[in-house]
Amino acid sequence: MPQNTKASPAFSRRRLLQGMAVLSLSAVCSSLFPAQMAAAQQSAESGFVATSSFLVSRPASPILAERYYSALCRHYADFPTRFAALKGYIATQNFAHVDAFLRAVDATHPLFQTASLIIASWYTGVVGEGAGSELIAYADAMMYLPTKDILVVPTYGGGPDSWGWDPAQKVKEKGEAA
């Protein structure tokens, strides 16, 4: 499965490839898509990766962050402003965990709504509304992480005879938290 990228040799190679991808993407973007290039630069400069990591309580991929950020800007014209407000607020509060932020802000508040939009993007892998929605990530969508090792991401099956056991038993055997 694509999110199984823990092994260290693969990790370093992946990082290298990611770097190369950023370079080539930048080259292409700057020549052909100045608007997207500007958005990507804004993503890097805006602190979207760090804020995303805080909101989803886990490391956020810089490559995906760039794609989510530019998609959010495309679908919601006021996103840069909304995001700046959210980032500014979080910076002033020193929350230890996103749960503290969620307790501090009312669900109807614009800051909460912006946080929800960013979390929804990372979790579902989709940005936008209704028929205009756009897929940014499938197997790397974070919604699959809580049930990883028990349920597959459809089309990325576990192989013949990879089911039939009691998931509770299997998780115990693997020494992972249930």
């Binding site: 909101l55 309580s57 965990h97 996103v98 749960d99 932020f101 969620l102 669900a107 909460f112 946080a115 929800s116 979390i119 929804a120 979790y123 579902t124 989709v126 936008g128 209704g130 028929a131 929605s133 756009e134 897929l135 499938y138 197997a139 969508a141 919604m143 699959y144 992480l145 809580p146 049930t147 028990i150 349920l151 597959v152 991401v153 459809p154 089309t155 990325y156 099956g157 576990g158 192989g159 013949p160 005879d161 990879s162 089911w163 039939g164 056991w165 009691d166 998931p167 509770a168």
Partner: protein, 544 residues
């Protein structure tokens, strides 16, 4: 006979057309298969599925037009969009695929036999119609269809649902052993068994060992919309085989007219290409295999001075008797982790009310448990409700582990008023009328619903689960039957017991549209058995 383009022209390249084409081509006959839609490549459909923001699911039905990974082309509009016009009190939003290989590309792959009593509904229970043939007549063809389609199943099960001895009778075993049941299926069998519910594992088209060119099922949990590895049978496999034996396939060729001479003989067909050009084909024999909506639509469109009501329609039954498995569903929340979504998308069903004297009063039905990976639906709905942070991960896990969906499929009866006709007001992009569907249910269906809801109550109690939702909104199960109904009497049926038109001896109809009764089971294997029997009749009796 005069010079013709082929011995046999087959209209439609789904499983039924593919089976007939393969049998005829193997016997050395010249065969042309005419398919309205395009050829598709599995890897492209898989990629389109993965890249789509809308995954097929039970909860975003409205957006499935956007989400179907299959082509939606001007000359073959997708049935996931606005193509099918609904005019009746109950919607019949069926989804079939107009591509080479047909609708089995996205079927769940349940491949059930009917049981003997399903063929005698009128004489046993005073409901619906009897078939002109009985189970024993079809039994060997069921066996052959199971081998052709590569069915995996559990020998020895009582598929009538009574927990008794093996039923229906079989002269041959399943070609492959059954799939391993998931933990969910085992646990449900245990809990529901205490209430007298007998678990039955569905025979299906997923390979459990390499079978022909198919690998074993790898638990991709994606039977619908597409098996990524071709472990699950689909009709394109028989089209490929027919072509290897010399059959010719014309894709993107929409047949819009069947012609007959004054004596009743079918002389040719006309088809239209996406560029609007019209083409003619002749043959000695014709097999119509365009499934339960396009087949009758084409017959009804083929009007002329001699045949003002269309081809094969002396009985006025073409397009009528539309049946389906109109259903209901229940969502429950368990108090223990059972994890639906492991392994293939469906397997366990309950058939306690598949057959019995009750069919005088309410219809046969099956209860099935959904086993699709639910993550995407839950994530979207939780976030919408404001569930974020640690709670989001916890809830995703809890709902995925404990939320279950049970669905009931009811048998419906052949009713003359439930019908499909070519629209008089709307056309597709190449100027052909779209299908218009009138569908309704009777008190008989509602009596079944009442009974089914009692089972839902029992299920929730036996599972110690809380009911979160019950939907009685006439859910469509995409099983089209009855629209070119079979019978011995030319006055009230379209084809005879050999699937041969009463009006046109050189016209045959293959598929589930000829079925005189629907039972409560997925009809594909019955259609396949009838198609193989039809091919045999063409070769041995008609001597095409």
């Amino acid at each position: 006979m005069k010079q013709v383009d082929a011995d046999v022209v087959i209209i439609g390249s789904g499983v039924m057309g593919g089976l007939v084409a393969t049998e005829l081509a193997k016997a050395g006959k010249s065969v042309i298969i005419v398919e309205a839609g395009p050829r598709i490549k599995r890897q492209e459909i898989v990629e389109r599925f993965r890249n789509s923001p809308f995954k097929m699911s039970l909860t975003n039905m409205k957006l499935q037009g956007v989400g179907s990974p299959y082509p939606d082309l001007p000359h073959v509009p997708s049935t996931y969009g606005e193509y099918l016009q609904q005019t009746g009190p109950v919607k019949y939003p069926t989804k079939y695929l107009r591509v080479v290989g047909g609708t089995t590309w996205h079927f769940g792959s349940a491949l059930w036999r009917m049981i003997p009593n399903d063929f005698k509904l009128q004489s046993l229970y005073g409901r619906g119609r009897d078939w002109p043939i009985d189970y024993q007549e079809l039994e060997p063809w069921y066996g052959r269809a199971e081998r052709e389609l590569g069915v995996s199943g559990m020998d020895g099960q009582d598929e009538s649902g009574h927990g008794g001895e093996a039923w229906p009778p079989r002269s041959t075993p399943f070609p492959m052993t059954g799939l391993e049941p998931s933990y969910l299926f085992k646990r449900l069998s245990e809990l529901l068994g205490k209430g007298g519910y007998n678990p039955v594992m569905e025979p299906n088209g997923r390979a459990t060992r390499p079978y022909g060119r198919r690998p074993a099922c790898a638990g991709n949990n994606n039977c619908n919309p597409v098996c990524p590895i071709a472990a699950k049978y689909d009709g394109s496999m028989h089209i490929d085989e027919a072509e290897r034996h010399g059959a010719t396939l014309l894709d993107n060729s929409v047949v819009y007219k069947i012609e007959a001479d004054d004596a009743g003989k079918i002389t040719g067909i006309w088809y239209r290409k996406p560029d609007g050009s019209n083409h003619h084909l002749t043959a000695n024999y014709f097999v119509l295999a365009a499934y339960g909506i396009e087949s009758p639509k084409l017959l009804l469109m083929s009007t002329s001075a001699r045949y003002p009501n269309g081809i094969a329609n002396g009985s006025d039954q073409v397009g009528r008797n539309l049946m389906g498995h109109t259903g209901i569903s229940m969502n429950v929340m368990m108090k223990e982790d059972v994890w639906p979504g492991q392994g293939p998308t469906e397997l366990l069903v309950y058939l306690n009310n598949r057959d019995g004297p009750f069919r005088k009063d309410f219809p046969s039905y099956k209860i099935k448990v959904r086993n699709t990976v639910p993550t995407a639906d839950y994530a979207a709905s939780l976030i919408k409700k404001g569930v974020l942070g640690s709670k989001l991960d916890e809830e995703l896990k809890r709902m995925s582990a404990r939320s279950l969906n049970f669905a009931i499929d009811f048998e419906t009866l052949p009713l003359a008023e439930n019908r499909i006709v070519p629209s008089k007001t709307r056309q597709d992009a190449i100027g052909l009328p779209v299908p218009e569907i009138y569908y309704s249910v009777t008190d008989y269906w509602h009596a079944g619903k009442t009974q089914g809801l009692l089972d839902f109550d029992n299920f929730a109690r036996l599972l110690n689960a809380d009911v979160s939702k019950i939907d009685t909104g006439y859910q469509d199960r995409q099983h089209i039957m009855g629209t070119t109904i079979m019978g011995d009497d030319a006055k009230n049926s379209v084809v005879n017991r050999h699937c041969q038109s009463h009006d046109h001896p050189n016209l045959f109809i293959a598929g589930t549209s000829v079925m005189p009764s629907a039972s409560c089971m997925n009809p594909t294997l019955t259609g396949a058995a009838l198609s193989l029997r039809l091919a045999d009749y063409l070769l041995k009796t008609v001597k095409v």
